[in-house]
């Protein structure tokens, strides 16, 4: 009987090897179980390159987690379709108009405070104003991009876009699908009427901009300016400054009535299972060194007041309280509530 339980040397080695193999196979899954995953949305292009190459690996190392960064649009419909108690994203990165839509549907939090994200203490007031849900980490200035080789005077007012000389070579957006177009419509109300919400004045001014070349994305507007198809158009400063040093005959002008804010907003989903990581990520994105790295890579104005950019960027971006004061923030809650009616009206105006 004893001999039946005695293990031969070969059998012992085989059993040991088997156990070691099971341990080796099982170990990564155990480690994986200990590593938390933060699910975020983020932009593509140059921003995405810097995020993937530098920012996210450093965050993962410091916070001992993995980040699943979704660059594939559409973010908000995906979030809407996922369970509220187990959302597909922990942190939603979009422009401000989409954050308002998401907040209205209860998909994201209303405010991000110093208590959750300490670096919020250092942001400019616009980053957490009553026009923002979540917190702004960067902004661009929406103004006028123009060709410098067409004999055009540097634009000084939004009204310059209506110059008859620009008929057919001025550029705008398909307003129902582009937030720059929507912001510009509100600005037309301010410039030609009683304020950003004066839609009648805005519609009348929009009619006067015809004929106008319309695009869906800002990337298309950039290329139309570069190719000369458009001589002057509505665009954000980063869409023009990114060609700095490439010998392209384009420049950006800030109209005297003010520039519109195109905010990059981060927000946390209420059902996130890793809220501490989500807040940690937002705090990380507001750190001066991270802000400087991204601001100089993509020409975004940092929301953190303490960021010191190199002279080239500092001269052009909104980095002082005086320059930040030229920013006008649209009321997206107001706009989104009327979007269907506005879409129908502007489509009728711009048809053909």
């Amino acid at each position: 009987m004893i001999s039946r339980h005695t293990m031969s040397r070969r059998k012992a080695l085989r059993t040991g090897a088997g156990l070691a193999a099971i341990a080796a196979v099982g170990a990564p899954s155990i480690l994986h179980a200990q590593t938390r995953t933060l699910k975020i949305t983020t932009w593509g292009g140059k921003w995405g390159e810097v995020m993937k190459a530098t920012v996210l690996p450093a965050f993962e190392k410091e916070f001992k987690c993995t980040v699943s960064a979704d660059q594939a649009f559409p973010f908000v419909p995906k979030l809407q379709s996922s369970p509220r108690n187990d959302p597909i994203y922990d942190v939603l990165h979009t422009n401000s108009n989409e954050q308002w839509n998401s907040f209205t549907e209860g998909l994201v939090m209303e405010k991000i405070t110093i208590k959750e994200v300490p670096n919020v203490a250092d942001v400019y007031p616009y980053a957490v104003s009553d026009k923002i849900v979540g917190v702004t980490i960067f902004t661009s200035a929406i103004g006028l991009g123009y060709r410098t080789d067409k004999g055009l005077a540097t634009p000084t007012s939004w009204k310059d876009l209506a110059d008859p000389k620009l008929a057919g070579v001025r550029g705008g957006y398909i307003i129902p699908v582009n937030s720059l177009g929507q912001a510009h419509l509100m600005m037309l109300g301010k410039v030609y009427g009683k304020g950003l919400t004066d839609l009648d004045a805005a519609y009348k001014a929009l009619e006067a901009l015809k004929p106008i070349k319309l695009v869906d994305f800002t990337g298309q507007m950039e290329k139309m300016l570069l190719s000369g198809e458009v001589s002057e158009g509505v665009i954000h400063d980063s869409g023009v400054y990114r060609y700095d040093g490439q010998n392209q005959p384009v420049d950006f002008a800030s109209p005297s009535e003010g520039v519109l804010a195109l905010e990059q907003v981060l927000n946390v989903t209420p059902g996130s299972k890793v809220k501490d990581l989500a807040f940690g990520y937002i705090d990380y994105m507001l750190r001066p060194d991270v802000q400087k790295l991204l601001a100089e890579a993509v020409w975004y104005s940092p929301a953190n007041k303490k960021v010191k950019l190199d002279a080239k960027y500092d001269a052009k971006l909104l980095t002082t309280p005086a320059k930040v004061a030229t920013l006008i923030q649209p009321d997206w809650k107001w706009y989104n509530a009327r979007k269907e009616d506005i879409d129908a009206r502007v489509t009728k105006i711009l048809k053909g």
Binding site: G45, S68, A69, A72, F73, S82, G219, E222, L226, S227
Partner: protein
């Protein structure tokens, strides 16, 4: 009769109908091929924006495309998914077609409509519905989920082409084989399959191309670092509208064309075209 007079006598009279027929065919060809030519021009134009006429010839956008790990990963994933979809849809679609054509199934018309229904729904809704179903089932968005989704929209193509072949199928050949002692399995592999093969594989080619170019269904089902080429191209276009998009399109077109040519060489799609 002089030579000139002879030539005049032999000259075919102007046929307006034939001229109109040729003009229509040339117009259709131009309609199909001009966009591809324009894409090729953009892909070879070195300027960082789309311009016409082109200012030169350069391979810089092809170099950018092949040097980008994002594009390459997406390309390989698209090829892998399309390959799996081809195998699955040929198996499922071929089997369904046989059952529908030969099985004397009750409600055959309803079943045919049911299997064809993915083509009747907007693909974006199919993608959204599957996305929600996967999340509710707690399986997330695995690659096999994407493959199944593509298979869902690809099967009707195989079904349709196989049913077309089976419509002209002579059952007496199978009966003769059975009478001569062949087992049902042998009859299937040696008689039925070779005869329906052109239809099945023509459907497979469609399935491959439908999957490789699939955008609306993939939109909701891809995951970070697991995006297919059409989705990567769409997102790239929002930020960088340069010739790399055109280069990627040319590569896609050439790959799809290669698959068709390889299958034609291997199994002879011309046989299906004759049907």
């Amino acid at each position: 009769m002089s030579t000139a007079l002879k030539a005049m006598t032999n000259k075919r009279p102007f046929d307006a109908g034939r001229a109109a027929y040729l003009a229509l065919n040339l117009s259709l060809l131009a309609f199909l091929l001009v966009p591809i030519a324009v894409v090729l021009i953009f892909a070879l134009n070195p300027t960082p924006y789309i311009s016409f006429p082109p200012v030169g010839v350069s391979l810089r956008w092809f170099e950018k495309f092949f040097a980008s790990s994002d594009f390459m990963n997406a390309l390989w994933l698209s090829l892998w998914v399309a390959g799996c979809v081809l195998v699955l849809s040929v198996t499922i679609g071929g089997a369904c077609a046989l059952a529908l054509a030969r099985g004397n199934l009750p409600g055959r018309a309803f079943l045919t409509a049911f299997f064809m229904s993915p083509l009747m729904l907007p693909a974006i809704l199919t993608g959204l519905a599957l996305f929600q179903s996967y999340l509710l089932a707690g399986i997330g968005r695995p690659t096999w989920g994407l493959i199944l989704a593509h298979t869902l929209v690809a099967v009707p193509y195989v079904l349709r082409t196989t049913l077309a072949v089976l419509h002209n199928f002579d059952h007496r050949i199978e009966e003769a084989a059975a009478v001569l002692g062949a087992s049902p399995i042998r009859v299937f592999f040696e008689i039925t399959l070779p005869l329906i093969r052109p239809g099945v594989f023509a459907g497979g080619v469609f399935a491959f191309i439908v999957s490789f170019d699939q955008f609306p269904v993939s939109l909701f089902l891809v995951v970070p670092k697991g995006e297919t080429l059409p989705v990567v191209l769409f997102n790239y276009m929002k930020f960088d509208l340069d010739g790399a998009i055109a280069a990627a399109s040319m590569v896609s077109i050439l790959l799809a064309l290669s698959v068709v040519l390889v299958l034609e060489r291997l199994i002879g799609l011309k046989a299906y075209v004759k049907l």
